[in-house]
C-alpha cells in the first residue's frame, strides 16, 4: 500500500473539471464528471474498459473536445484556448500512452531529442545530451540510448515513453494504462517508477488503470468511474469498503488478494 505523499498541496488545484460530458454518436461516455487534482497528488482513475477513462485524459490534454463542461488545467480553461496557447499548456503536461507511442522510425535518443529540438532551441548539444542522460537514468535505461523501439521490451518501451515526457519537465503527468500488457514484475517496476517520478520531479499525476495493484501502489487517492460518472472516491480501502455489487465485482475480478 502506498503511503500518501506528504507534499500534496490541497490549496492548489492543478486540474479542476466540472460537469464534463462527452458522447460518441449515440453513446454517452462521460455523463457529468467532476474532478480535482491537487498539486503533488497521484490520482488513480479506476474503471472497466470502455468506461471513458482514456477519453477523460485525452480531453484534459486537448486531444479530444468535450461536449459540455469546464476543464481547467493549471488555471486555464482548455476549451477556450487558442491553438498556440494550448501548445504552451501542453508543454507542462506529460502524456504516457498505453502503447508507449514511441516514434518507431527513430532511435531512443532521437525520440527523447524530438520534443527538445522543437521547444528548447537555445539548448546546446551538450545540454541536450545531459538532459537525455538524466531522464534515461531516472527510468534506469541509459544503455538503450542508441536502440530502436522495436528492439525494446514492452516494459522498456513504457519507461522510454515516460522518459520522453519527463524531458520537458512537465508539472502534470497523465498515464494511460501504464501497466497494461506487462507481466506482474514489470508492472511493479512501472508502479515504482510512477512514484519515483512523483517524488523526484514533483509532478501531479492522473493514472488511468483497471489494474488494482497499480491503483493500490501508486494512488494517493482513487476515484472509480462507473456509468460515465465518478461513483466512489477516497483511499484504496475507502473505495472498496462498500456493498455496491459493481464495485465488489470489479475488486473480485482482479484477484488482488
Amino acid at each position: 500500500m502506498k503511503k500518501t505523499n506528504p507534499n500534496i498541496n490541497k490549496e492548489n488545484k492543478v486540474i479542476s473539471i466540472r460537469g464534463l460530458k462527452k458522447a460518441f454518436e449515440d453513446y454517452k461516455v462521460l455523463r457529468g464528471v467532476d474532478l480535482d487534482l491537487y498539486q503533488g497528488e497521484n490520482l488513480v482513475v479506476l474503471g472497466r474498459s470502455g468506461t471513458g477513462k482514456s477519453v477523460l485524459i485525452k480531453i484534459i490534454a486537448g486531444l479530444l473536445k468535450s461536449d459540455k463542461g469546464q476543464i481547467n488545467v493549471l488555471g486555464q480553461d482548455v476549451n477556450k484556448l487558442k491553438s498556440k496557447e494550448l501548445d504552451e499548456l501542453r508543454l507542462k503536461i506529460g502524456f504516457s500512452f498505453q502503447n508507449s507511442a514511441l516514434y518507431d522510425s527513430m532511435t531512443v535518443r532521437e525520440n527523447l531529442e524530438f520534443p527538445l529540438l522543437r521547444h528548447s532551441r537555445d539548448l546546446s548539444q551538450q545540454e541536450i545530451d545531459n538532459l537525455i542522460e538524466t531522464v534515461l537514468d531516472a527510468v534506469g535505461l541509459a544503455q538503450t540510448i542508441n536502440q530502436m523501439p522495436s528492439e525494446l521490451s514492452g516494459g522498456q518501451r513504457k519507461r522510454i515513453g515516460i522518459a520522453r515526457t519527463l524531458i520537458l519537465r512537465p508539472e502534470i503527468m497523465l498515464y494511460d494504462e501504464p501497466t497494461a500488457g506487462l507481466d506482474p514484475i514489470t508492472s511493479i517496476e512501472i508502479n515504482n517508477l510512477i512514484n519515483e517520478v512523483q517524488r523526484r520531479f514533483n509532478t501531479s499525476s492522473i493514472i488511468i488503470t483497471h489494474d488494482l495493484t497499480c491503483a493500490r501502489d501508486t494512488g494517493d487517492r482513487i476515484v472509480m468511474l462507473l456509468d460515465g460518472q465518478f461513483q466512489r472516491q477516497g483511499t484504496f480501502e475507502e473505495v472498496f469498503n462498500t456493498d455496491d455489487k459493481r464495485v465488489k465485482a470489479f475488486y473480485d475480478y482482479n484477484f488482488i488478494e
Binding site: A23, E25, D26, K28, R31, G32, V33, D34, K58, A61, G62, L63, D87, E88, R90, L91, I93, F95, F97, Q98, N99, A101, L102, Y103, D104, S105, F114, P115, R118, H119, R164, T165, L168, D227, Q229, F230, Q231, R232, Q233
Partner: protein, 270 residues
C-alpha cells in the same frame, strides 16, 4: 461526487439528405480542409528541414533503381513495337522523333507517377496510418509539435519537388534505351538521334510535362498522407490506407492526365 444521472437516450442524428450522401459531402469537405491546410502550413515557420531532406532521399534517391529499370525497358520496348509500323512506310528514320514525342509528352510523366504512386504513395499511406493507429501522431500533438507540418508538409513537398526530377531522369533513361535499340538496328549515331529527338519536341512539351509531374507528385503525396492520417481500425486500417493511397492516386493521375492533355492541346492549337 456526482449523484447518478438517469440514462437518457440521445435523439437520433438527423441527416440533410441521407447518411451516405452526407458522408460523401463531409469527406469532400475534409479533403478540402486537408489540402488547404497544406498551403497555409507550408509557408509558416518552424520548418522541418531535416525531415524534408529525409523525405527527398526516400522519394527521390530510393526510387532511382526501379525508375531506371522501368524507363530503360520502356524505351527499348516502345521503339521495338513502333518499328514495324514505320518500316511499312519506309519511315524508320522518324523513330527518334516518334519516341521522343511519346516519351516526353506522355510516357515519361505517366510512368514516373505510376511507379511513384505504387512505391512512395503506398509507403506514405502505410507509415502515417501506422503512426495514427499506434497513437504516435497524438504523441506529437501532446508534445506541442504540429504533426501535420512534420509528417504531411514534408512528404507532400518531397513528392511535389522530386517527381518532376525523377520524370526528367525517366525520360533520359528511356531515350537511352530507345537510342541503343535504334543504334543496333538502324546504325543511327548518337548525335543524329539527339538532334532528331530535340527537333521533335517544343518548349511547351517540356513545360507541360514538368507541370503535369508537379501535379502528379502533389496528388501522390497528398493522397498518401490523407489516407494515412484518416486511417482507423488498427492494422486492417493501415493496410486499407496503403491500398487506397495507390488506387486513389492512380485514378486521380489518369484523370489529371486527361484534363491537362486537353488544356495543352488547346494551347498548342493557339
Amino acid at each position: 461526487m456526482d449523484t447518478e444521472e438517469p440514462v437518457v437516450k440521445q435523439p437520433k442524428r438527423r441527416y440533410l439528405i441521407s447518411r451516405k450522401v452526407d458522408r460523401v459531402f463531409q469527406n469532400l469537405y475534409d479533403v478540402y480542409k486537408f489540402v488547404i491546410r497544406f498551403f497555409k502550413e507550408v509557408f509558416l515557420p518552424p520548418y522541418e528541414f531535416k525531415e524534408i531532406i529525409k523525405q527527398f532521399y526516400e522519394v527521390g534517391l530510393r526510387s532511382l533503381p526501379l525508375i531506371s529499370l522501368t524507363g530503360f525497358i520502356i524505351g527499348i520496348v516502345f521503339t521495338n513495337q513502333s518499328r514495324p509500323s514505320l518500316t511499312e512506310f519506309g519511315a524508320t528514320s522518324w523513330l527518334p522523333a516518334l519516341i521522343s514525342i511519346a516519351i516526353v509528352r506522355a510516357l515519361g510523366p505517366l510512368v514516373t507517377a505510376i511507379i511513384a504512386a505504387g512505391r512512395v504513395g503506398s509507403s506514405i499511406g502505410a507509415e502515417i496510418g501506422s503512426m495514427k493507429v499506434t497513437e504516435q501522431i497524438d504523441a506529437m500533438e501532446v508534445s506541442a509539435t504540429n504533426p501535420y507540418k512534420f509528417l504531411v508538409v514534408s512528404r507532400v513537398l518531397a513528392t511535389t519537388l522530386m517527381i518532376p526530377i525523377l520524370m526528367m531522369y525517366t525520360v533520359f533513361v528511356a531515350l537511352m534505351g530507345a537510342y541503343i535499340n535504334i543504334h543496333q538496328n538502324e546504325q543511327t549515331s548518337f548525335t543524329t538521334f539527339m538532334v532528331d529527338v530535340f527537333d521533335a519536341i517544343t518548349f511547351l512539351d517540356i513545360f507541360a510535362s514538368l507541370f503535369k509531374s508537379i501535379l502528379f507528385g502533389f496528388t501522390i503525396g497528398m493522397v498518401g498522407c490523407y489516407k494515412g492520417y484518416n486511417s482507423s481500425k488498427g492494422t486492417e486500417g493501415v493496410g486499407k490506407a496503403a491500398n487506397s493511397s495507390v488506387v486513389t492516386a492512380m485514378v486521380l493521375i489518369f484523370i489529371e492526365e486527361l484534363l491537362t492533355m486537353q488544356v495543352i492541346n488547346a494551347l498548342r492549337a493557339l
